[in-house]
């Protein structure tokens, strides 16, 4: 089940909230959340429930043992055991096909590569559970004694299948004891509705334009004019942020409605001034996971320059690989490693000194080209797109009628998408609130509260209309 569907909003979320608020005790509410989360997860195929509950069991048991025993060696053994089991399962389900395809390419074995279906959310909950056990090992959190609460932590439908990768420490208190205020609930509704609209209206619309102008088929790419490819990739750049951050917005919003306070996962990454800055703003829960559980444990930057670069290389190799079992994702990760290494070497200092706008342009350009590597899993198509984007005057048309027409016909839509990618709305709201409070202007404050109250419902209604249109499939000919 995806958040941006009518089934989820009206047949799942609505009854979930209703039943949740009928219950009064936190324990009962937790049980309700757990049941709904398991139904939510099972919706994508109940067979994978076994994997989720099994991994949660291994992690719960390991963490409990780590908390109980005194021997540091044994604690480490439990940690290693848990990590090995979870990572092996992740490799089995996510990377077997990829590994065997490559082995087959060089050795001819095996004859047929098995087609293993990726269980939904496995990349996210595996990391959550590893972080939980590692945190218990480090003594940062207490081991949870109740298995079902560990299961609740990793299966919470808000974040189970698409992040953010929530640390146990973030929700430890919320699981045991939480209160929900009207401010909390309304902030949650606001956040959820913004996420829903970002996904249902903007991301899907940008996606359609990206599919048209940065098509996946090589044949279509070769006839696309240069500016068409740029336009397509810019739309994809918008789409991927709007899509991914929308899921985090909805997760944070739904969490807040029921009293959970998840950390931010995105912080307007496209206003970054450097690639390092970009990664502080993009998928924060993933980059902090790799920082805290891979980079720093390997020594981070404390073991000399060479080791620092080796550590960075490993982290970015893994970051790329985490995004998908394909070489282009690994290339994408290493591509960022190169820029981060350059910034560490000298580029960072240059960027600090020059006019800020150049930093923004540089970071955006690196991001857009990065998305080319991310989007095209087929290498020959990928190269064709890059060749096309940089072949000014090389026999390829610069633009065509379709491009002009699409730009003009989506000019307001694209403006809305751009506004939502940059913190313009947030700045205006914060500015009005600050001015209202400073000068006790009730009109200004009233305006903000009024907008806060109406916008979410309008956004939800517009999103519902857009979602209805998702199955819209006008057959021009040969019907009726």
């Amino acid at each position: 089940m995806v958040f941006s569907s009518l089934l989820f909003i009206f047949a799942f979320l609505a009854p979930q909230l209703f039943i949740y608020f009928i219950a009064k005790k936190t324990r009962t509410r937790n049980i309700i959340l757990l049941v709904f989360s398991l139904i939510f997860y099972a919706w994508g195929g109940p067979q994978y429930l076994l994997l989720l509950t099994g991994e949660a069991f291994v992690s719960w048991y390991s963490a409990r043992e780590i908390g109980r025993i005194q021997s540091k060696t044994l604690k480490k053994c439990w940690l290693v055991l848990e990590c090995v089991i979870l990572l092996l399962l992740l490799i089995l389900f996510k990377y077997t096909g990829f590994i065997l395809t490559n082995v087959q390419r060089f050795t001819g074995w095996p004859e047929a590569v098995p087609d293993i279906i990726l269980p939904i959310g496995i990349s996210f909950y595996t990391f959550q559970l590893i972080s939980y056990v590692a945190d218990v090992y480090r003594g940062e959190v207490q081991a949870q004694q109740a298995y079902w609460k560990v299961l609740l932590y990793c299966s919470l439908f808000h974040q189970c299948i698409a992040g953010p990768i929530v640390r146990y420490s973030t929700v430890e208190n919320d699981i045991e004891n939480r209160t929900i205020t009207l401010d909390d609930f309304s902030a949650g509704v606001r956040r959820f509705s913004v996420g829903l609209a970002k996904k249902a209206i903007l991301a899907n619309g940008c996606g359609a334009l990206a599919d048209k102008f940065a098509p996946m088929a090589q044949g279509a790419v070769s006839s696309m004019p240069t500016l068409g490819l740029w336009f397509g990739m810019i739309c994809y750049t918008l789409q991927i942020y709007l899509d991914f951050s929308a899921y985090s917005d909805m997760a944070i919003g739904m969490g807040r409605m029921v009293g959970f306070h998840y950390l931010e996962n995105f912080n307007y990454p496209y206003i970054a001034r450097s690639v390092q800055d970009f990664w502080r703003r993009w998928h924060i829960s993933l980059s902090t996971f790799f920082r805290d559980y891979v980079y720093i444990p390997m020594g981070g930057n404390r073991k000399g320059a060479f080791r620092t670069y080796v550590n960075l290389f490993i982290v970015w190799f893994l970051t790329g690989m985490w995004h998908g079992a394909s070489w282009n994702y690994i290339l994408w990760g290493l591509y960022f490693f190169v820029f981060l290494a350059l910034e560490r070497l000298f580029l960072g200092k240059v960027l600090d000194k020059i006019w800020g706008i150049f930093g923004h342009i540089y970071a955006l350009l690196v991001a857009v080209i990065g998305w080319v590597l991310f989007r095209f899993t087929d290498f020959s198509t990928l190269l064709e797109v890059l060749r096309g984007m940089f072949s000014f005057g090389g026999g390829r048309a610069l633009w065509n009628q379709e491009l002009i027409s699409s730009c003009l016909n989506h000019v307001f839509f694209l403006a809305a998408a751009l506004i939502s990618v940059f913190p313009i709305g947030k700045k205006i709201r914060d500015g009005l609130l600050a001015a209202g409070h400073r000068k006790a202007r009730h009109g200004l404050l009233g305006l903000v509260y009024f907008t806060d109250a109406l916008t979410p419902v309008i956004l939800i209604l517009l999103s519902v209309l857009a979602l209805i249109g998702n199955t819209y499939n006008p057959f021009l000919y040969f019907q009726f």
Partner: protein, 476 residues
């Protein structure tokens, strides 16, 4: 802010927050009731999209375990959401505010080169034409010897059976590229050589097989873009030159059979292109366009056409056709349907696909009560596999068999007054092996002793090579 002001502010904020809470609860509760309780309000088909909506899936254990079953429920839930059609109309309207202009260039033509027709030499009438097998289709084609060994009957080709329904579902938008200019939708036509050659083979096979039995006519209908657009725009959109294409179709068919009577309507449509020959919001021609084709047909056949003024005219406003589904801005330029009832007789029988029986129907209906997206269905009840008009007012003993897609629908009513019997086959749905039907075109024409067999089709609709394989099924 002092304490008093702060309290005031808190109260106001809480007031608005409570208001939001109430609105949110109302929306969620309404969504829940509409989506999960009022299941009888769920639509089963879409008038706007002209398709049947997803059905609730049947439970299967293996589909449940691997998640397919729940995924089908998700699709069903969204696809049949109550008031879907009304909500879609609003969404369509919203989309018109996405950009600055109403003109849309969604695609440019990418047609095949049109071969030189001088290379195509018509066969001598006395000798049977050589078999033409399109080389690219050779694996699909099974060449069978003709039933008769007689020298005067040329050999024919047949195609492997293609399931028309499957193809229609598989490839519904094959012909779907549309651009919009000044609130008129235009078909973006690209010539398809493979499709053209297959079409010529089917028509010539029928013409050759029916030599001495029936006359075989071919009417090819150009697209609205060819007739109504200015040359500059045609060039800008890189449309294939339909005049040249028509000559190719003509010459190709003539090279395969000397017995085809081609009714060339391009010139007459161009002469009248300041009139309302095609709809703005739909890919079809108007019945006025069809009338000029009827006049040309009569000339070729050597009969006197009726004047347009002789017919009873029924006018319907606010038609929003197939282009509207993709381009909601066309709602600002709705069409008017001028329909002309046959002079002598307005009743027909047709095979109802849902009921699987022959039913009575009206040839030209008053479309005022039709939903505004379905008004083209007023001509011969839309696209049915088999339609029969037995006109007791005409006693000339002549039968005409028509092979058509939807463009033919507006043209057929004019023929009613000239034949005692008209049998209409929609090649996309007519299955010559279906027991309820009447066999393939050749057998049917022989059995009915048909005076004429008419192929009337739109260039865009017959350009797809796979659809032409479907036509091949009945032109054996």
């Amino acid at each position: 802010m002092n304490i008093e002001n702060k309290m005031k502010d808190d109260n106001r904020r809480y007031g608005w927050r409570a208001f939001l809470l109430a609105l949110f609860l109302i929306v969620m509760a309404m969504g829940f009731i509409v989506g999960c309780v009022l299941f009888w309000l769920r639509p089963t088909e879409s008038v706007l999209e002209k398709r049947k909506l997803t059905e609730f899936p049947e439970f299967r254990v293996e589909e449940f375990v691997d998640g397919t079953y729940t995924s089908k429920i998700s699709t069903w839930f969204a696809d049949t959401f109550p008031f879907r059609e009304e909500l879609l109309t609003i969404q369509q309207k919203i989309k018109t505010y996405y950009g600055l202009q109403n003109d849309v260039v969604s695609a440019v033509g990418e047609g095949d080169d049109i071969p030189d027709i001088e290379d195509l030499i018509p066969p001598a009438t006395e000798e049977p034409p050589e078999i033409q097998v399109p080389e690219e289709s050779s694996p699909e084609i099974e060449v069978v010897p003709s039933e008769s060994e007689s020298e005067s009957e040329p050999e024919r080709e047949t195609y492997e059976s293609v399931d028309a329904d499957e193809l229609v579902k598989m490839n519904p938008q094959e012909a779907g590229d549309v651009n919009v200019k000044d609130l008129v939708g235009y078909c973006v036509y690209g010539f398809n050589l493979k499709g053209a050659d297959k079409y010529a083979i089917h028509v010539s096979n029928v013409a050759n097989a029916l030599k001495g039995v029936s006359n075989t006519y071919e009417i090819l209908i150009p697209d609205n873009s060819a007739i109504m657009l200015d040359d500059a725009t045609k060039a800008e959109w890189r449309l294939s030159d339909e005049e040249k294409v028509l000559h190719y179709y003509q010459a190709k068919a003539a090279s395969l059979s000397p017995y085809i009577k081609d009714v060339y309507i391009y010139d007459t449509l161009m002469e009248h292109n300041d009139e309302y020959l095609y709809f703005h919001t739909d890919h079809h021609w108007t019945q006025l366009g069809a009338y000029y084709a009827y006049v040309e047909f009569c000339k070729k056949k050597g009969i006197e056409p009726h004047e347009l003024s002789e017919y009873k005219e029924v006018v319907t406003n606010d038609f929003l056709g197939s282009y509207y589904a993709d381009y909601p801005q066309l709602a600002d330029n709705p069409d008017t349907v001028h329909a002309y009832e046959p002079l002598t007789y307005n009743t027909m029988q047709f095979f109802d696909n849902d009921l699987k029986i022959m039913r009575d129907g009206v040839i030209v209906r008053d479309m005022n009560r039709f939903p505004n997206t379905l008004k083209y269905l007023g001509f011969i009840y839309g696209d049915n596999p088999l339609t029969i008009i037995d006109n007791p007012e005409v006693k000339n003993g002549e039968t005409c068999i028509i092979i058509k897609e939807s463009f033919g629908n507006a043209w057929i009513p004019f023929l009613t007054d000239h034949y005692q019997k008209i049998i209409v086959l929609d090649y996309r749905y007519y299955n010559s092996e279906n027991e309820s039907f009447m066999g393939n075109v050749v057998d049917l024409a022989k059995k009915e002793k048909a005076a004429d067999v008419v192929f009337i089709n739109n260039l865009e609709a017959i350009s797809d090579s796979q659809i032409m394989d479907v036509m091949g099924n009945i032109c054996k």
